[in-house]
Structures are given as structure tokens and as C-alpha cells.
């Protein structure tokens, strides 16, 4: 029976696997035999900066910042489109200008909507009520 030409590759693969896994296995075995685990509350604490953690990690943030962020992002991306438009402005036709105008108007409409909703007014007082940070 002729050996497959890939047989040597299979041998190398097994050897490579063993080379990687053997140290892990030996380390595990060593830990089992020699080093007793001595966990305690301080050692298992989540926070590892020397301070004790206090309070709950599941605190609420006001969504106002999210709205600010997303509006900023939209206008940031708009600027990316506006720059090539401004550079190529003299060579553009009427149709391209109209398309760009529609694009800008759509965004202005969104801004006007956000403004009317009062998103742009930062209400500081709400933060304390919602998140309960000041207690």
C-alpha cells in the first residue's frame, strides 16, 4: 500500500499540535500536583487597582449624550461628502448640484427636528434624577 503524499504533513501537524499542547498539559499537571489553590474574598475581588469597588456597575446613563453623539456623527460624515463636492464644484452639472442640495436639506431637516424636540438643550438636572449618581 502506497503512502499518501500528505502523510508527512499529517505527521507534522500532529507534532505541531503536541508541541503546543504539551506545555499547557504539563503546566496544568504541575499545578494539580504541587501548587494548592488558596482563593479568598480579597483575591477574587473583581476590581484590581487596590481599591474596593462600591455601588452597582449597572447604573443608568441619560440618553441625551447618545443623541448629541449621533447628531455629531451625521454632520461629521456630511462634511466628508461636502469636501469633495466643494473641490469639484466648478466642474459639476446642475443635476449633481441638485442631488447634493437634497442631501444637505435632508440633514438640515433632521437637525430642525432635533432642535424642535429640544435635544440640543442640555438639561443638567435630569442627569441626577435618572442616574442617581448624587446620593
Amino acid at each position: 500500500m502506497a503512502l499518501s503524499p500528505y502523510f508527512s504533513l499529517a505527521v507534522l501537524f500532529v507534532a505541531a499540535l503536541g508541541f503546543g499542547l504539551a506545555p499547557l498539559g504539563l503546566a496544568w499537571l504541575w499545578a494539580r500536583v504541587y501548587s494548592p489553590a488558596k482563593p479568598n474574598a480579597v483575591k477574587n475581588a473583581i476590581y484590581e487597582c487596590g481599591m474596593e469597588s462600591k455601588g452597582d456597575a449597572w447604573m443608568q446613563f441619560r440618553s441625551a449624550y447618545y443623541l448629541y453623539g449621533i447628531i455629531f456623527l451625521i454632520f461629521d460624515v456630511e462634511a466628508v461628502f461636502l469636501l469633495p463636492f466643494a473641490v469639484a464644484f466648478t466642474g459639476l452639472g446642475a443635476a449633481a448640484c441638485a442631488a447634493m442640495l437634497v442631501f444637505v436639506l435632508l440633514l438640515v431637516e433632521g437637525l430642525a427636528w432635533a432642535w424642535a424636540k429640544g435635544v440640543l438643550t442640555w438639561q443638567w438636572k435630569d442627569r441626577v434624577q435618572v442616574s442617581g449618581v448624587r446620593d
Binding site: 494548592p36 479568598n40 480579597v42 475581588a45
Partner: protein
């Protein structure tokens, strides 16, 4: 040692290397001591200098300063430990995995140093955690820290794997947690860890 030292040298000349598991293990441990990225005062500047190219702590396998106690083996107490900072230092020491070592660097870490009379200064970190090597100096030169590190390596090399005098981390019964002091009315509570440090008796 199972193998005679002279026989070992003779075999080594012939290209045969003989070792014991204990020797191999200690060689591995002392060659990869990772210090914690942790400085308390001016001694920390000397510690930083020790890690840099001129003094090059990397020659001894200790260049990997870990920002987390979970990955560190060695805590270099580099500077004055105030009573406000001591609980944090002890807590970090507790969070380091065994085996863990401590080098008390400089006069302040050993005894409070020039600030010993201060109301807010801990008079030596060895009141709360076991210190392996003390280095005097204010601050110690980088060479002194290297000397301390080599001393620690020699100490690691001499640790037996089995027997009654095996180190703490190999002993299932040995104490693994060191109580974290809390600020009391006048001093830290407790003022020292009795299991680690004996209160000196003042004879007048």
C-alpha cells in the same frame, strides 16, 4: 542534591547535562519574575531607571512590568507607604497569585525613613506583608535594586519543592491571605499583622 556537583561538571564537559526537577523549576521561576507596575514615591524613579537601557533589568528576565496584580510575581515597594496607602498595598499583594515576592526598596519602605516621625507614615511595610529583600538607601541606586533582585533570585534558587521548609505557596496549610488593615480612630486597625511581624519590646 541527587547528582554530585563535580560529576555534573564532568558530564557537562562531555556534552551531557544533568538536572533535577527542583533545579529546573527554580531556574524557570527566577528567570521570569514579573514585577508589578507600581511606584509609590521617589524610589519609583530609581526603579524606572533600573528597567531602562542603562541598568537594564531585562538581563535578569524581569523587564515585563505588569499593570495588573493578577499577572505579577514581584511587588517592589518603591517609596513611602502612608497609612492611607497601606490598605491598598496589602490588598494588591493579596490579589497577586502565588508565588509572590516583595522587595522593600529604600528607607521609607523599610522603616518609614526620614518620615518615620510623621503621624501618617507607616513604619515599614513588613508590618503587614512578608518582605523577601530589604534595600536601604534614600533612594537606593539602581545598582542596589539590581543587587536586591539578584539576592531574590538566589533565594528562589534555594527553595526546596518538598519537605517542611518548602515555601508558602507549595504548602496547602500555609496562610494565603494577609488581613487588609482598615483606618481606625488613631492608627490603622490592626497596627501590625502579628503573624508577619513581631512588635518590638521597648526596654528603657
Amino acid at each position: 542534591m541527587a547528582v554530585d556537583q563535580n560529576l555534573k561538571i564532568e558530564l557537562g564537559k562531555q556534552g551531557i547535562f544533568v538536572t533535577t526537577i527542583e533545579e529546573l523549576y527554580n531556574w524557570g521561576r527566577r528567570s521570569s519574575v514579573w514585577p508589578m507596575n507600581f511606584g509609590l514615591a521617589c524610589c519609583a524613579i530609581e526603579m524606572i531607571a533600573t528597567t531602562m537601557a542603562r541598568y537594564d533589568l531585562a538581563r535578569f528576565g524581569a523587564e515585563v512590568f505588569r499593570p495588573s496584580p493578577r499577572q505579577a510575581d514581584l511587588m517592589i515597594i518603591s517609596g513611602t507607604v502612608t497609612k492611607k496607602m497601606a490598605p491598598q498595598v496589602v490588598r494588591l499583594y493579596n490579589q497577586m497569585p502565588e508565588p509572590r515576592y516583595v522587595i522593600a526598596m529604600g528607607a521609607c519602605a523599610i522603616s518609614g525613613g526620614p518620615f518615620k516621625q510623621g503621624y501618617n507614615v507607616l513604619k515599614g511595610i513588613d508590618r503587614y506583608i512578608p518582605v523577601d529583600v530589604h534595600i536601604p538607601g534614600c533612594p537606593p541606586r539602581p545598582e542596589a535594586l539590581l543587587e536586591a533582585f539578584i539576592t531574590l533570585q538566589e533565594k528562589i534558587d534555594a527553595q526546596p519543592l518538598t519537605g517542611n521548609d518548602r515555601p508558602r505557596f507549595l504548602d496547602a496549610e500555609a496562610q494565603g491571605e494577609f488581613p487588609v488593615p482598615v483606618p481606625g480612630e488613631h492608627d490603622l486597625e490592626p497596627p501590625s499583622n502579628k503573624g508577619v511581624w513581631t512588635v518590638p519590646v521597648v526596654i528603657r
